[in-house]
Symmetry: D3
Subunit: 142 residues, 6 copies
């Protein structure tokens, strides 16, 4: 069916528009780190990269109703609780800084997380935060 084929064609005009909107949101929020994730998927799973942009950032992220700062707080909670998502925590702690959450607020959020998902998850997320802050200190112009 033409409709279906178009819906699954990630380079159809519609999907391209959705993806491009998502990529522009992603660039604002995650900077080069988010784009790097999508680029890294080009060979292995381009459809996954498409949906990271088109769905996550295009359809969902900049919907009115919840501002980026609030979204990043929810995301930090999720990624900390899940565990094993250090690569994503790295990107999203950076995104949190980009949308105006301070370093102090991030570390407080991770301390707060000890109550709800325990000290191990909170510690592992804090180690990622330390790494992100150190990288930012090392390259201030980024």
């Amino acid at each position: 069916m033409t409709g279906t084929a178009a819906q699954h064609d990630i380079d159809s005009p519609e999907n391209l528009a959705r993806r491009r909107h998502g990529q522009s949101v992603l660039s604002e929020i995650d900077g080069h780190q988010g784009e790097a994730v999508i680029d890294s998927l080009a060979d292995i799973n381009p459809a996954l990269g498409h949906h990271v942009a088109a769905f996550s950032f295009g359809d969902i992220y900049d919907r009115p109703g919840l501002d980026p700062r609030s979204r990043q707080l929810v995301t930090l909670g999720i990624l900390t609780a899940l565990g094993g998502c250090e690569p994503q925590l790295k990107v999203h702690i950076g995104a949190a800084l980009n949308v105006g959450i301070s370093r102090e607020e991030i570390t407080e959020a991770l301390l707060h997380a000890t109550v709800y998902c325990g000290f191990p998850r909170a510690l592992n997320a804090t180690f990622v935060a330390r790494e992100v802050f150190a990288e930012r200190d090392a390259t201030p112009a980024s």
Copy 2:
């Protein structure tokens, strides 16, 4: 050792003060639902109830550095991602409303969660939100 005995005595003057401060924060944030959880622990595990109040709400919750609204967003993320924490989600969705997060923001946060922990977790949290909103609609004076 006297010091240790005192630290473990949940009714020592120090611990009582920490607990009372926590209980007052809890009442502001969770209303009667939070107090009900602690009361329900009186027979089975009073020390656990003590630490819910003294540590979670006394030591952590109202630390400056992260406001209650931000804390509740992190908590919603964690509880949604963990799964199986519907009792706590019920209390904390109520707390989110109490600290000024709107119903629309809550449902947006749960839609946002689909990206990071999938639709099943987000759906189950949304069903709890529906229950909380319905209860509030049924008893407007609470």
Copy 3:
């Protein structure tokens, strides 16, 4: 921005088409149970219901490259491992039957799961399977 507003308008012609395609896939796969989930979201989070249909079933589910039988096996593994997703397991065990996976294959898959996520998760999923099979036996015309 008009483009963005359209992308977020779940009733735009584009989104309506995506959703309708998803709803038709959903009806084939999950029967009335899947539609019931989306309907149940109409009041609380219509956008979530939209994306269950438009993204999960419209964009992803019937992409060529993985057949429905294979998709349901992956889904059974995920929902069993996550735990706490009994509502979704109920729908998806039904969907597995609908796409031609036999009851024996389902129970074998859950026995297989003991190796990878342990007996508790596998047992809880098996209890849901029992419930689904019993309902089907009680209402053979469904």
Copy 4:
């Protein structure tokens, strides 16, 4: 291959012996609750019931090297951390009492768990413990 067919025949003399040994361990440890779980699987997944007895209790549980009390402490940690395993926690809190862990030790273990997997998981496990203790108080001869 005959060897394989025998290994998969849960009623072969070898498997029957393994299962019977497991059932006898299970009766000692879990009492009637454990047997009830296996019986409940007879219609839906008898092989799963076989392996609960033959593998979990026959091959593993009474291996020398770790005593039942220690095993139950590990199990309580696992089931509390997993979440969503309230049916299994119910059986295993009972088993913990049966192998000589006191009610005080169980509630201390769940308080201890707050540190490692957070208060929500620990609270939900504590609610199950309360239920188990109440049932035992109601039927002292069990």
Copy 5:
């Protein structure tokens, strides 16, 4: 009891036969990677290695009722959802290829997983798939 001692003696004739059957299934499915895992356990926990072979692959894996392709799809779902199981994902993505699941089907399965356990888990599993495919491309005769 002699029966028990024999059941716990991983080198008894019965257990040796179960283990050898499991090892032969493992070699077919996981190739050298699976055997390597068991070998790596020889010093630290030989009983664990025994049961990987005897239980997982001997008792469960080649039971009729679910074919290897279907089993690997369930396993991919579980390991992706669990997170933190990259070592096992590496072995099992290889096993999936060995039992005839194509690279395209594997990446589609991981895209499908975004719906049920979110993008972070699916991304991390995709990164492992990329590594496995790259190793196979580098050593075509393996």
Copy 6:
């Protein structure tokens, strides 16, 4: 409020006393590894380090009612089941040895864990145990 400010001041006389007690428990149990974790937090999140000591080890760990050996068994179960907590498993397997749990008991506990959280989690924890034992063999005086 003075009371609150004091409760949040991690260097108040009360908090210093709670922390020092916790640090002394930590040194006994985790040796230098536990102290190293807290030291590593000094720059990034000193309050988190304070609460690891004051709450986890000062308020909870040496409460009468559950002995250290039992506590470590519960902790091993939790950390194994959570997955992704290899840094903490490393510290706590060492702590288990320190409180008198033997290497054989630790590996038996991890084999036991296969039943409740599956072979992947148990294998990953066993790999950490191997690393801990190897380090101890390499530096016998530690």
